[in-house]
Amino acid sequence: MQAANSKSPRVLVLDPSVEARLVLCELLSRTGVATAGAESVGDALVKLKQSPVKVLVVDADAFDPAELAPIVEAAARRGAATVVAGTNRPAGEFGFVRKPYHYRELVHKIWTALEATENPGRAAA
């Protein structure tokens, strides 16, 4: 894992649970990744516009799939990857972690997604 060069959030954590956001943001910040948390889709859309987010992390169990669609589409348009944590794997090309997950596993998925979006050539190789 490599440290981020910028203080701008590269990972956006969308989860209504303040605890879940706190834990994940703390863990990612320790690996040198600047993060932002959002408790609602609307909040996430605003933060997505404001920051050069490369990975969106979503708790799929906390939202209706239809509710999530705008933020997932917005992230894709901006070239950000999406990592989904939940009970059932949703349809689509997402990194997926099944609940209850270990945080190391989730962080690994997020880093893999970061690598793929920030260094697509290296990821492909």
Partner: protein, 599 residues
């Protein structure tokens, strides 16, 4: 949605929704409906949707497709049709049809507004009505009428005997007892056809009281009473032809082979009738009797059974078969619904527990990180106040998360136990204001966290109320928690909790008003149902169901008024004198008795 419900066969109890325009049925994978039945073809039939209806089309299956007993090539299905493929019988239920509202067509008119001259000529009470079936005092009636009355009474008794049970063995025992009471038989048994093997299996056997146990072959009686030996020849005939038979002397009956088993067994008289149900043979009822030479001399007859007995037995057996079918189908449906409810309950609880476990993992992980930081700085001697404070802060954050989730699991378990347990409250004189005040104090921290203002207005002169303080505390806690959650993110965010008592001092009320989003009208009917939650992963959906249960156990109630965008007011009403002693709450049952989810 149209559906198929398996009412007979190995898949009994399964329900298949017809939610595609084309649904194949067969015994192999690849069919939308896969039946576990060796007599069903690999690709047996297909259901094709045409508008609101379905057409069933047989795909040249080996054993055919039947609708209501008729073999079909293709058939438009009506709700209630019975579809048979192999040994599997399915009930088709079509889309809900609109039923004309009869209310507009029937008027109940007050006596002042309507008089067509009709007057009451006769009236008869329920008990007098059943006299129709009693033996009349006038014994001069014709033998035909006496027999008809007697038979009518017997059929009436049969219909009563076969109703109101879900236990087939109990049902059969009732039928057999009734037959022995009405027909002068010594012994009898009922055999049911095994749905899988097709073989007859004895399910109930009865001896008429006073019949000495004696083995059929004349040897010493068995310790557990005599066995009833039934001629396979008779059974084959009854099953093969679907006819009841009476045999008083097998050797004189040309239908039997005199050398067959019936002659070896020495049965003097027997009646064996098929239990013919709606969809096929359900089983067989067999009764027999033997007459000693002495009895023949006394009776001046070698026969106890006659054609009348046979007719009666055929009628009883048909009634019994219908009852067995109904009981069997109803049991299957109950079982299916029970399984569905258990499945839903387990799925919902698993979901909540999983989220709580996820929270515990997150908190634990932060603690682990904090301890790691602290240990590392101790080990390399770099510890300073800032590093130590940071490590402690991380540990505290983690511990806070663990504690909160511990509280969540504790609350979930308490709600589950309260909801699942049929219990009588343990009322004692209590200060309702004190209980509500405790709840408000307890919830203050949560309200502060969410930026919600909580106001508390205790009633003056609140009398002592007979309640189970612990249960009522839980009920109010659930409502106040919901109110605070509902206000989160709203402006103003205010929860007002109050108590009051009515003028007669009979009903104490706890009201909880919030300024949250309010409840949509279509959700008002469901908010008190178990596992109904609008709080997503935050709520278990048990809180209001538990509160309602506690209120009702106290002889009270809960209601809600709500306006979307304005907020909601919940009112819990409790009788000051406590729950009525005539309440129907059961005694303490097994705690594992989880109540199924019912709407």
């Amino acid at each position: 949605m149209p559906s198929l419900f398996v009412i007979q066969g190995r898949d009994q109890g399964l329900r298949f929704p017809l939610n595609e325009p084309l649904i194949g049925v067969g015994r192999v994978g690849g069919n939308a409906i896969q039946l576990n039945d060796t007599e069903v073809s690999r690709k047996h039939a297909v259901f094709e949707q045409t508008g609101e209806e379905f057409v069933l089309r047989d795909l040249n299956s080996s054993n055919g497709t039947f609708v209501n007993g008729q073999r079909i090539r293709d058939k438009r299905l009506l709700s209630g049709d019975q579809v048979q493929m192999g040994r599997t019988l399915l009930l088709y239920t079509g889309a809900a049809e609109s039923v004309a509202d009869a209310q507009g067509d029937v008027n109940i008119v007050g006596s002042s507004g309507y008089d067509d001259g009709s007057r009451i000529l006769h009236s008869i009470s329920q008990s007098e009505g059943s006299d129709l079936l009693a033996t009349p005092a006038d014994q001069t009636q014709s033998p035909w009428l006496a027999r008809a009355r007697s038979n009518l009474q017997l059929m009436y008794r049969t219909s009563l005997a076969v109703s109101h049970t879900l236990d087939i063995d109990q049902l059969l025992a009732r039928i057999m007892d009734m037959i022995l009471e009405w027909v002068d038989a010594d012994r009898g048994c009922i055999m049911l056809k095994d749905e899988i093997t097709g073989r007859l299996t004895p399910r109930v056997r009865r001896l008429r009281r006073g019949i000495a146990p004696a083995s059929s072959n004349g040897s010493e009686p068995e310790s557990d009473g005599p066995k009833i030996s039934i001629s396979q020849t008779i059974l084959d005939y009854v099953i093969g032809r679907g006819e009841g038979v009476l045999t008083s002397n097998a050797g004189d009956d040309s239908r039997w082979d005199p050398a067959g088993s019936i002659m070896m067994m020495g049965v003097r008289e027997a009646i064996c009738v098929p239990m013919q149900g709606r969809y096929g043979l359900v089983g067989v009822i067999y009764i027999d009797t033997s007459i000693t030479p002495k009895q023949m001399l006394e009776r001046q007859s070698a026969n106890k059974f006659g054609e009348e007995h046979l007719k009666l037995m055929v009628a009883i057996a048909h009634q019994a078969a219908l009852a067995v079918e109904d009981t069997s189908h109803y049991r299957a449906m109950v079982q299916a619904e029970r399984l569905a409810a258990v499945g839903q309950t387990i799925a919902t609880l698993s979901h909540h527990i999983k989220n709580i476990l996820q929270g515990v993992r997150g908190g634990s992980y932060l603690i682990e990180l904090g301890l790691g930081d602290h240990g590392k700085s101790l080990a390399d001697g770099s510890i300073d106040i800032e590093t130590a404070a940071k490590a402690v802060d991380t540990i505290q954050k983690g511990w806070g998360i663990v504690e909160k989730n511990q509280e969540r699991i504790s609350s979930l378990v308490m709600d589950m136990l309260t909801y699942s347990k049929e219990r009588k409250p343990d009322p004692e004189p209590a200060d309702l204001n004190e209980i509500v005040g405790d709840v408000v104090e307890l919830m203050q921290a949560r309200a502060d966290e969410f930026g919600v203002e909580v106001n508390w207005s205790p009633a003056d002169g609140m009398p002592s109320v007979m309640i189970d303080p612990e249960a009522v505390h839980r009920a109010i806690l659930n409502v106040v928690t919901n109110a605070i959650d509902a206000c989160e993110g709203h402006e103003p965010a205010c929860v007002t909790v109050g108590t009051s008592v009515d003028e007669r001092g009979e009903i104490a009320t706890v009201s909880v008003r919030d300024t949250g989003a309010g409840i949509e009208p279509d959700r008002m009917q469901t908010i008190f149902r178990a596992f109904e939650s609008s709080k997503g992963s935050k709520g278990t959906g048990l809180g209001l169901a538990v509160t309602m249960k506690i209120a009702e156990e106290h002889g009270g109630s809960i209601d809600v008024e709500s306006q979307v965008g304005q907020g909601s007011t919940f009112r819990i009403r409790l009788p000051v004198e406590g729950p009525s002693s005539e309440g129907d709450a059961a005694d303490e049952p097994d705690a594992s008795d989880l109540r199924p989810v019912t709407p």
